[in-house]
Symmetry: C2
Subunit: 144 residues, 2 copies
DNA sequence: GTCTAAATGAAAATAATTATCAATTACAAA
DNA sequence: TTTGTAATTGATAATTATTTTCATTTAGAC
């Protein structure tokens, strides 16, 4: 389940980051994104209600949230890197190429593949990226 | 198997791209890359022997090779996007975080997962990104 | 309330990529 | 082989994305 504003703020506190008005606002702007986002998009959204918050602060806050693993980076979509709100468990993403919607999924079985690859290549595998792209249901219904 | 200089040049011709000296040189620079590369890296390599070829030409040639599916884009490594020479069949990548080496692999079974995800989410899935990162065998042996 | 390190925003700096355009060139046709 | 022409090129400028610097402000511990 997607992380909430509350959970994110708690994590920020827990890691001794000050809970400034700016950070709160950036977090709100992020968690209310139904789909993926970029720093510029968050800034734009934010700018209406908080014209005095700078783009740098968006970058900085996003950087912290990435460090804490509270947002995920997306690679397979149009503007890479894009971001999406994180969840507590390990998961991957399904991305709509039209509206940018992001759906999380879990329960893949990459472990066996990973073991086979490690054996065959000699690699010590640490991490992976797995993303699917396509069209979400609502977007399929839109005639182009 | 990785595409050769010859194969790439043939494909360029086949798609009515002129085989200029600059393009030939960029292709050579790319196929002689043992690991991943960026436009800047190719330019740097190229610049020694061909000081008169500009970085723009590298970008343009790389763009064409991407369009023709002759090079692959990498997302999971340090500098994203990076690139690597393509192969003729559908495949994925294993990337060394230290030396940048790229190993291709095939034979995964994403089809079942893809079907399950499509059913559960309603998505029409078109494409995917799958990359593993870690340390290649030689790099594991280097003490840090 | 005071204090202080952390955070902020303006501005400049850096980096990556793309657009413009006049000069050059590959190569098909004569 | 020469010629014509559209494609290609490189210099330069323009955009865009991101990071650094630094003086000022502020959250939150005491
Ligand atoms: Mn995973
Ligand atoms: Mn694949
Ligand atoms: Zn959609
Ligand atoms: Zn390595």
């Amino acid at each position: 389940m997607k992380l909430t504003e509350k959970k994110i703020n708690t994590e920020l506190k827990r890691h001794n980051y000050k809970l400034t008005n700016q950070r709160r606002a950036v977090v709100v702007s992020i968690v209310t994104c139904q789909s993926q986002f970029t720093p510029a998009l968050i800034y734009e959204k934010l700018h209406r209600e908080h014209p005095d918050i700078g783009l740098v602060t968006v970058y900085r806050t996003l950087g912290i949230l990435m460090d804490l693993g509270l947002v995920c980076e997306l690679h397979a979509s149009g503007d890479c890197p894009a971001y999406t709100v994180g969840t507590s468990q390990h998961h991957h993403h399904l991305i709509c190429n039209r509206c940018g919607r992001v759906v999380d999924f879990t329960g893949h079985r990459l472990a066996e593949l990973e073991k086979r690859l490690a054996k065959e290549s000699g690699f010590r595998i640490d991490s992976h990226v797995l993303e699917f792209t396509g069209l979400c249901l609502p977007c399929q219904k839109i005639k182009c």
